[in-house]
């Protein structure tokens, strides 16, 4: 089975996820800069963060399916798992934002990031099972150190949010987006 329609469908889902997050931004009731900042300042920053993440996933997804154009049932389901994790970003982002960075929502956001990262990992492994694709993947992605580092940083962020101030947990999250 070719990967064209899977790519088109994933692009559609990612395009929607990245765009509907803006619907979660609350329009300020007042008409001053301070109202914008109070009602939406944090929301704009967390939106930017999640936008960058989805952009990175789109980019990596694009890259992955340029190398491999053979897909099977396992790859289809791993891809859906990834899309499901990513589709929760607007929800966890909104919760984290509305709670003004309370501990549990920051941890929940981190778990969501971790789940998406792990799903991407699963997707790669499902693709590497297919004959002839392992070598192409290894060549293109190397030893995937960057990916493992992301998973580590998400975990670190979760732990920091749990055992220090919640906002400290955001530091490793932002680092991943900047990598």
């Amino acid at each position: 089975m070719g990967s064209n329609r899977l790519e088109a469908f994933s692009d559609g889902v990612l395009a929607i996820i990245i765009t509907i997050m803006v619907l979660e931004l609350e329009v300020p009731e007042g008409h001053e800069w301070s109202d914008l900042w109070d009602a939406t300042g944090l929301g704009l920053l967390t939106y930017l963060l999640s936008f960058v993440y989805i952009g990175i996933y789109w980019n990596n997804h694009h890259h992955l399916f340029q190398i491999c154009d053979e897909v099977d049932g396992g790859v289809l389901w791993a891809n859906l798992l990834l899309l499901f994790s990513l589709s929760l970003y607007p929800f966890t982002t909104a919760w984290m934002d509305e709670s003004e960075l309370a501990q549990v929502p920051v941890v929940a956001y981190g778990i969501n990031l971790l789940a998406a990262g792990a799903s991407f990992y699963v997707l790669e492994h499902m693709m590497a099972r297919l004959p002839g694709q392992r070598d192409k993947l290894r060549e293109a992605f190397g030893r995937t150190t960057k990916e493992q580092l992301s998973l580590l940083l998400y975990t670190l962020g979760i732990l920091l949010a749990l055992f220090t101030e919640p906002w400290v947990g955001l530091v490793p999250y932002v680092l991943v987006a900047l990598m």
Copy 2:
């Protein structure tokens, strides 16, 4: 008439349906795990269920149009009927979730599942009418036992929700998703 643009349009609609369901999830007002569970726990599970269904439909739709690339007016309308049924999933999912699995909403969800399943059936039959496609379809889908079983299980779920506890009706629905 070729099927390319029909596939692209259907992919677009399915991508939107699968994604906007997350907008129906209510962001919890509190900041604890218990608030997440109370406000959204059931919503996340029903979202997951509907996400899997739409994923399966996308998969089957993809499969169907890989075999047949000839479409006519009847196929176009059967396809729109299917998309209409599926477009109601976010609505019936939200009602079932907000009612905390009350009887009527669970039955309504089952009717929606049944309508989508029947529409897919109609779509296949409209495609099988076109010259030369019946054999290709029969070869690829066999005697479509799995599909008929789904319709049966949806009906069973509706009956169970009507005559026993509503949540029991969900068991056959979940079974279809796992098949």
Copy 3:
């Protein structure tokens, strides 16, 4: 300039319009069939009507660009005009539904239908200006009687809604969808 990306963009917009209308459906607060009917019964019917219209436009749009694959600036703008008119369907549908078919909203819906019909007409004429396309269009669409009849029926619906009972105006609207 080729028409491929214009078609893809239009498909995307139409797919979104046809799908987000479901977000305007109010989830019933009660859990009985009567609650579904009271809160959403009319909404489901008007949603179905608008869904069919958008489906017809997608179909006609598809047909039009299969015949003509040459576009210029005028065609681009006429196409955007059509998409703008169609993008208002979720809004006018919701107003008509929430007003329970009051006179002005039914008329406003009719004006919206008329505006979209007229935009499609403009689009065809912009395409017929391009060298070599007039004949192809005339051959494929004949004397476009059906289209002119739609515009007439929309006008009739508006007049009926204005001078008799509002719901009477819906009769010609529904007739167009069934044609």
Copy 4:
């Protein structure tokens, strides 16, 4: 890396932005023309304005990637920056509309327009870095006077909104849309 999937993804995002703005339109509570005008009159006009802008960006984006089909990481990120700016249009449009053209929201809208214009500029320059593309771009877009004029007019609009009546700032914004 070819530009096909980047174009498809951008088309998806633009199609969603242009369409979801209609979800921000408040459905009037009353059923008279005056209710429509009071609740939504301004909203319809600002929606139209933003719709035209997104239409222009889609058009220019289309044009740009018809000339250049080579992209690299820098182009990808510049493109995401553009999409991020444009994705804020529904938000700033809604704020400007709900404030009934108060000063700060009109300025914020102008800053958003300016940010998108500047991002498009950055995108062009990232594409012009790639070997062999500078000449093609220069030939097709000339000295980009129109683009620089837009940036100037956005700035003028912001200044007028700041130092005269807010609605005066809209005049240069509208001029750009009509250019």
